[in-house]
């Protein structure tokens, strides 16, 4: 699993009556779905220059006094071109360097892990601090909780988010509740659980799931999902130092494909805060992780529909101003930012890879309809995976792609 080959895109057969127009389009369209549109590599959401990288909103330098307001200081800071796994490795290295009690363990992490996120750390920091574990997720997390209960900083890797379920009890019953049930005497705030998440195009049932929603009902936990190398580094360092246990889910397809100039210094980005990437006034498009790039593509499609698609996108909607928000933290999620946005736009489309039923979108939709009821111009739409396991052969049609997202935007705007 150490590298992903571009998968063979298959011609669509319409999956649902809901996507009738998609079938018509497929019968006439020439390009492969998503093949002709901006990919992650050319995404405008990424920050390919030093200047842009250093001006990342909300950035807080660990070597500065951060008690004052957030400032953007560009001078004297360096950046380096990194993809996501390199930036995560960079963050882990800083965490180990600055905290003697920080240890990293998980399956195969000592020689880099399947995604290379811990490459060279064992050699650099010693095998007492970066070590392999047996294949026992429940034991690994329980073990991490014990270390964290001693005030240390265990950084645990679960090889795939799909393998986190054996550890569900330890995470929900022990980690999340430790502080509360001891009346504040103990906590496992030092615990961070890293795991690769979301689809890769060919991961199938056990390598492409998005289990973030399962942890939503576990107060005491935090769940963070970054979208890019800069975000991954800043959010991971913040998660490691957050005084609560954090599950840090890394979209695995972005490990190699997302590349940015990443500041080499120690910095953090705020946990619990959404990030508005594109300002808009007509509709709020909310997502996190990999689908952000599909959303970006959908916005391009909406503004300038490719041939064959243009008749399905009314002219009047092509100039719609869509606000794109990266939620970043799933628990506790930034209610304030989302509600503020929806009150302005009156419309909300939520996109996530996990299935529809009781997904994170359900919780957000419920809260938004309560808090924005009189401002809503259309029902909250959720574009998600289907309520099936992630299929191997049709994974491409399981995950919400740009076309489905655009369709939802058009329908919501027309409502």
């Amino acid at each position: 699993m150490s590298c992903f080959t571009p998968h063979c895109a298959r011609r669509a057969v319409a999956l649902k009556p809901r996507l009738r127009f998609l079938r018509r389009w497929q019968s006439t369209a020439t390009p492969e779905a998503a093949g002709h549109l901006p990919s992650v590599a050319t995404s405008k959401l990424l920050r390919p220059t030093r200047d842009e990288a250093l001006r990342t909103p909300g950035i807080r330098w660990a070597d500065e006094d951060n008690s004052g307001p957030v400032r953007t200081i560009v001078g004297g800071r360096e950046t380096r071109k990194m993809n996501t796994y390199q930036s995560i490795r960079d963050a882990l290295s800083l965490a180990l360097m600055k905290d003697d009690t920080a240890v990293i363990f998980g399956e195969d992490v000592a020689f880099g892990g399947v995604f290379r996120c811990t490459m060279g750390l064992a050699e650099e920091f010693g095998r007492e601090r970066v070590f392999n574990t047996p294949l026992s997720e429940q034991g690994i997390v329980g073990f991490g909780i014990g270390i964290a209960a001693m005030g240390h900083t265990p950084i645990v890797e679960i090889q795939f988010a799909d393998y986190i379920y054996p550890a569900f009890d330890q995470i929900v019953n022990e980690a999340a509740k430790f502080r509360y049930r001891s009346g504040g005497q103990y906590n496992v705030g030092g615990l961070t659980i890293r795991c690769p998440t979301m689809s890769v195009g060919h991961g199938g049932l056990y390598h492409s799931q998005s289990p973030e929603g399962f942890f939503m009902g576990a107060p005491g936990l935090k769940v963070v999902i970054p979208r890019s190398p800069i975000q991954a580094k800043g959010l991971l360092l913040a998660s490691i130092r957050d005084p609560n246990p954090v599950i840090f889910m890394e979209p695995k397809i972005l490990y190699r494909s997302a590349v940015e100039q990443v500041p080499i210094d120690d910095f953090e980005l705020p946990v619990g805060r959404a990030d508005t990437l594109v300002r808009g006034s007509d509709l709020t498009l909310l997502t996190w992780g990999t689908p952000l790039y599909h959303c970006e593509t959908a916005l391009h499609m909406l503004a300038s529909p490719p041939p064959g698609l243009d008749k399905h996108v009314p002219e009047s909607l092509r100039n719609a101003k869509i606000e794109l928000i990266d939620l970043r933290t799933i628990l506790p999620w930034d209610v304030e930012a989302v509600v503020e946005s929806v009150i302005r736009t009156g419309r909300l489309v939520i996109v996530h890879e996990a299935g529809l039923t009781a997904g994170v979108g359900a919780e957000i939709a419920a809260t938004v309809q309560k808090k924005c009821f009189l401002k809503l111009e259309a029902p909250v739409r959720r574009i998600t995976g289907w309520d099936t396991p992630v299929p191997l052969q049709y994974e491409k049609f399981y995950i919400p792609d740009a076309l489905r997202i655009m369709d939802a935007i058009v329908e919501t705007l027309k409502y």
Binding site: I147, M150, P154, S182, P219, N244
Partner: protein, 400 residues
Amino acid sequence: MATLARLRPILARQTPFRVAARALQTSAATTQPLDNPSKSEPFQVKLHEDSFHTYRLDAGPELEVEVSKDMLITMYQQMTTMRRMEMAADALYKAKLIRGFCHLAIGQEAISVGLEHAITPQDLVITAYRCHPFAVMRGGTIKGVLSELLGRQAGMSNGKGGSMHIFTPNFFGGNGIVGAQVPVGAGLAFAAKYMEKPIAAFSMYGDGASNQGQVFEAYNMAKLWNLPCVFVCENNKYGMGTSAERSSSNTQYFTRGDKIPGLQVNGMDIIAVLQACRFAKDWVVKGNGPLVMEFVTYRYGGHSMSDPGTTYRTREEIQRMRSTQDPIRGLQHYIEQWGLAPEEDLKRMDKAAKAEVDAAVEEAKASPEPKIEDLWTDVYYKGTEPPFMRGREREEVHYY
């Protein structure tokens, strides 16, 4: 299947360990003094030769144990008080003042008290839900425990945990999920080793939890990394309502660590418990890696308050255990036989224990319930909470 059937006798013969043919001695009063017990100086006693069984250990604990009058008297006083406390909890529960779940350790007092006398306050202990005596022995108070059971502010977790969630410094709590504390205990041991501290982590569980998968995960990691972890199985013979024989293919719990050495101990004789815990601490602190230690003990009550404890075993069995193997009566027998203190002194201690517990009950009852605002604290670290948390209705939304 025929092949398998032929194989079976061979496999049985090749069992890698041999459990001593003789049964473990579980009587509470079989220890003999070697010299004349002194009232002021420590003296030697000799445990029954079947007080311990070993597995993959070249030598188990010495049978000759040094004890002193003061220590034995203190142990008696503590065990009596612990039993009184659990009886008070029983009464409070039946009076509907304690609600929810409540698991009592009546009959198992020798383990919590004996362990504490063998280790230092710096050693680490984590156990399951039968945790009340450990909480007191590890630095808590009777009032703190009973208040917690009653859900009052004076409780050791401020009334927010309840029976299974009581902590002190270096006592990492009772834990409500069967077996979940065992890998956590291995993690504690790792931290101790990482800091190069000469301390041991005692990760405790029952015979029921011993069949949980994560117990074996923890065994493996602890042995793999040679952690100073003592896995302590309190075998009270019933996991909830199922006897060990009906739940476990191997009821010799001390042999279940595969490559980890094991020690089976008479958990009803507090002197055997003391000696075993001293041995265990010494074993792991010297860098020998983990140890699986099984205490054979017995609970007189049901699994929890909702279990009368008589549907899966006979009243005669409980009565027989109480009358022949009770750890407190066993120690009382030593004290009286060895002339350390007259019966009247012990009776006075019994009365004092009852008075102490009664006073704690009153204090606990007088403590107020947690404030409504406390419902929202300790979920996240102060200052890092979400902006608000919902209650049952609109008015109950709490804004941080």
